[in-house]
């Protein structure tokens, strides 16, 4: 039985993820941490603001984690996303996979973050000096 950690939190502590994914049957742990970047298309970002439809977001995150566990036979999986106001360099998302061999956790980790970005109802607003923009809202 593999263990899933699915959370939406106010603040992410990226340093505890190794312990959360550590498992006696695992020979590899792969983690992706998404952080706030200072520049978007040459414009300086002051902060990012995330909001979510939490009930649905947790359901969608759980679906992604379950799919990854089945597909790559993971021992542990984590998907944790932060909401609220985040400043440059702060972590906003952590996904990770723990598996017997490294190929599985590398592939799973990529799948977790790529799918999260497509399906999980979380929205990010970029705050610049003089304006703020909902990311990806318009073509």
């Amino acid at each position: 039985m593999s263990e899933k950690i699915i959370e939406i939190v106010d603040k992410i502590d990226a340093s505890k993820v190794f312990n959360e994914l550590s498992h006696p049957k695992s020979g590899g742990i792969c983690v992706f941490v998404g952080t706030v970047r200072e520049f978007t298309k040459g414009e300086e970002v002051v902060s990012l603001e995330f909001e979510t439809y939490k009930k649905m977001a947790l359901k969608e995150m759980d679906k992604i984690a379950t799919e990854a566990v089945v597909k790559w036979n993971l021992n542990k999986v984590i998907i944790r996303h932060a909401v609220g106001l985040k400043e440059v360099e702060e972590p906003v998302v952590v996904v990770g996979a723990s598996s017997a061999h490294r190929d599985a956790c590398f592939e799973a980790c990529r799948y977790l973050i790529d799918t999260l970005k497509k399906t999980v109802p979380i929205w990010k607003k970029e705050r610049f000096e003089n304006k703020s923009v909902w990311v990806s809202a318009h073509p």
Binding site: Y53, M56, V92, I113, P121, I122, W123, A137
Partner: protein, 80 residues
Amino acid sequence: MNVLFFGIAKDIVGSSQITFSDEFKKPNSVAALKAQLMLSYPELSKLTSLAVAVNSEYAEDDVSLTVGDEIAIIPPVSGG
């Protein structure tokens, strides 16, 4: 029937929730709801995409809506 709005959709509508209390005027499908909202708030039709969730699951246009449903308008997601 409650309709929740998030992200840019909330800004466009100017509210995080709309309640359709009149049984006869409420849209009876996802497609009808989208059409009604786009008519009332034309800015919604300029978005990259507009999805609808019924009881916190993505729902296609032909899904019918009933009084007790929790409906959410999902503009393009941008987590991560």
